[in-house]
């Protein structure tokens, strides 16, 4: 029902309250919040390595892609409401990057749709992460095969 791409932070509590407000047929809301972390396990680096993350995106295509995945989730599951908020710009560890929330009469649909949208965001939404590190300066984060494998699970369902 709603897709937002924005520089500013968001209030999880307020967003979830708004999502289900007025619909007493909703039995559950499943949400996922992605945060900037200060470590990079794939590079074998521990806490404190990543000082900040800058998310670049493709304005226009990003919104179209998010709307498409939201529409597909609503086709696959009986969702009463759905929300995707994805931030761009520079963020520091601990800051919120993304919020996905799905509301349904039943918890299974809410859980599955939430996972589906996140797996899809990781592999199709045109965002790129630039990490700032103390010693190495800046580096672009590589896409991960595990994310693609997670997304591929949904293609045969």
């Amino acid at each position: 029902m709603a897709v937002r791409v924005q520089r500013d932070d968001f209030d999880i509590g307020a967003e979830l309250a708004t999502l289900s407000d007025g619909d007493t047929g909703i039995g559950g809301v499943c949400s996922f919040t992605g945060l900037v972390r200060d470590l990079h396990p794939q590079a074998g680096e521990g806490p404190g390595t990543v000082r900040a993350l800058t998310l670049e995106h493709y304005p226009g295509m990003t919104e179209r892609q998010l709307e498409a995945i939201e529409a597909e989730a609503r086709e696959r599951w009986p969702l009463s409401a759905c929300l995707i908020i994805h931030r761009y710009g520079r963020m520091e560890p601990g800051e919120r990057i993304v919020l996905v929330a799905c509301a349904s009469a039943h918890r299974e649909a809410a859980f599955d749709a939430c996972r589906f949208i996140m797996d899809w965001l990781k592999t199709k939404a045109p965002f790129w992460k630039l990490e700032e590190t103390g010693d190495a300066g800046q580096r672009w984060v590589d896409a991960r095969h595990s994310d693609q494998n997670a997304a591929d699970r949904w293609s045969d369902r």
Binding site: Y58, T123, P126, D142, A143
Partner: protein
């Protein structure tokens, strides 16, 4: 034709976007990339390995065989890392 570059393709090529008039022989994405590679070292380096280059024409993902035309918006970028 409007070309857009993102993430490390943008930094290797050195610009975020440009408008180009491609030769008549360039009719699909693969042909466009071949033409771009000949434009200089930054292009050749950025487009050396097509396994790590994604293409969108008019904001939809397309394969290398997809046609391109003068009025198109073509974006070239690495695999995405959102979420």
């Amino acid at each position: 034709m409007k070309l857009l570059y993102f993430a490390w393709l943008r930094t290797k090529i050195g610009i975020a976007e440009e408008r180009v008039a491609v030769p008549d022989g360039v009719t699909d994405v693969a042909g466009l990339i071949g033409w771009l590679r000949d434009r200089g070292d930054g292009y050749a380096e950025a487009l050396a390995n097509l396994d790590v280059v994604k293409v969108a024409v008019n904001q939809e993902y397309v394969p290398l065989t997809h046609p391109v035309a003068a009025g198109d918006e073509v974006a070239l970028f690495p695999p995405v890392t959102g979420g």
